[in-house]
Amino acid sequence: MRDVAIIGVKNTKYGELWNRSLRQLVVEAGIGAIEDAGVSGKDIDALYVGNMSGGRFIEQEHIGALIADYSGLSKNLHVPATRVEAACASGGLALRQGIMNVASGYGDIVVAAGAEKMTDICSSEASSALAAAADREWEGMAGATFPGLYAMIATLHMHKYGTTSEQLAEVAVKNHRNGAHNPIAQYKNQITVEQVLNSVMVADPLHIFDCSPITDGASALVLVPAEEAHKYTDTPIYIRATAQASDTIALHDRRDITTLDATVVAGKRAYEMAKMGPEDIDLVEVHDCFTIAELCAIEDLGFAEKGKGGIVTAEGETAIGGRIPVNTSGGLKACGHPVGATGIKQAVEIVTQLRGEAGGRQVDGAECGMTHNVGGSGATAAVHILSRDR
């Protein structure tokens, strides 16, 4: 197996982009990434794109072919293009497929992208499409919504560990503070704990400000073998680990409702592959689709003791300048969550940070970062470790 490096990255603006189509967004991200990498379209050996639900959101399937075509990679070059789907973890799995392609020797220059166009349908239809990431027959048919599933995690987390609504709100406040420094973020406004607690209740105990938004956006990056990386850039970022794990599709079948075992196992596999531990990670992008999800993530990845995620967050340990900065991009909450793109965006953020190009949200001296992308209520998790050192 060959080591793999990232040599180019690009995010589009994230937000309600009513005047942009899926294909426009992903082409902007893809061309931006290959320009950043300094490679040519004719050199690309393969393209992977994470996309959760083109069929439901824009009534378009066959997203791989569409994107290759409108990127100019089909008619003359016939570059193989593959769509990857694992609900909200589609992007993380597209990244992993790209890494495995290069690592195996099949391809030398591979693009991994993610894209979702979510605002062409009304929000109740979008919620219904997202709920398809859970067990439609045995959760959805009972009246479960996605916020409802995470709310049940939150209720039990509060009951078992004493986590409070204020601590959950602190996650949203921090992520908005970070997002304010991210030019692509959907929300750049700062919010307060009181605003979160006074916002509309969606699924008790989760308020609307505990939830990530519906977003349009695309992200892309370029992968090459590590030994070639310095031909293209002075600051390649190396993939030190790629890991993935699955768990039961329904929340009710989990070993422990407040632990995402897929996260625990993917994290453990990633730490083993990189020969690292949580103490070696300088910053992490976790899957904060809801505030409670960030608390579970930092606990399950070993950045906080189980049950202490809320306390650690309220004490500022996960803020920029804290012990382990979490979601410097603004996370899913403030940067936005175009579901299929998120896993790629997380890697783009870590690359930007490790290059020292993150501006007002820069983590000083960042050498090593992690991404954590979840599908559904935790049936899929993908964890990657990226580093300046090979």
Partner: protein
């Protein structure tokens, strides 16, 4: 939800019929044809659950899924049946009276509907089990 998909699981929905692996003793609701522990070596038979169980966590849904808009606010819970497996279901009654550890029993109720003129789905919800 499509009619055939719903129809296939009517027995399970109305009667809490699940499955049981006689090889390892594990009970499954919703039903599974393949045992998680024994996989293809398991011996699966159908099993009708008593239906009694305990709420292990819950939420009160204020923004409903499509087809459930008329019912808000409603309590949704994960219930651990006495035989072992857990399921997701609504709790009938005042959502504010639901708590972790509450004993519940099943009732036959309307679950949801496909719009005003569409199919109505029936199935199992739960109510407090106190005497």
């Amino acid at each position: 939800m499509s009619v055939p998909r719903f129809w296939r699981s009517l027995g399970s929905r109305y009667n809490l019929e699940g499955t049981h692996c006689t090889e390892c003793g594990e009970y499954y609701y919703p039903p599974r044809d393949t045992c998680v522990n024994c996989r293809r070596l398991g011996k699966i038979e159908s099993y009708k659950f008593k239906g009694t169980g305990e709420i292990i966590t819950y939420t009160i849904i204020h923004t409903a899924a499509e087809g459930f808009e008329e019912q808000t606010p409603y309590a949704l819970a994960i219930i651990k049946l006495d035989e072992g497996p857990s399921l997701t279901a609504q709790i009938v009654g005042n959502p504010k009276e639901v708590y972790i550890g509450m004993r519940v029993k099943p009732v036959f109720r309307k679950l949801g509907e496909d719009g005003e003129r569409g199919m109505i789905y029936y199935g199992t919800k739960f109510v407090p089990a106190e005497a």
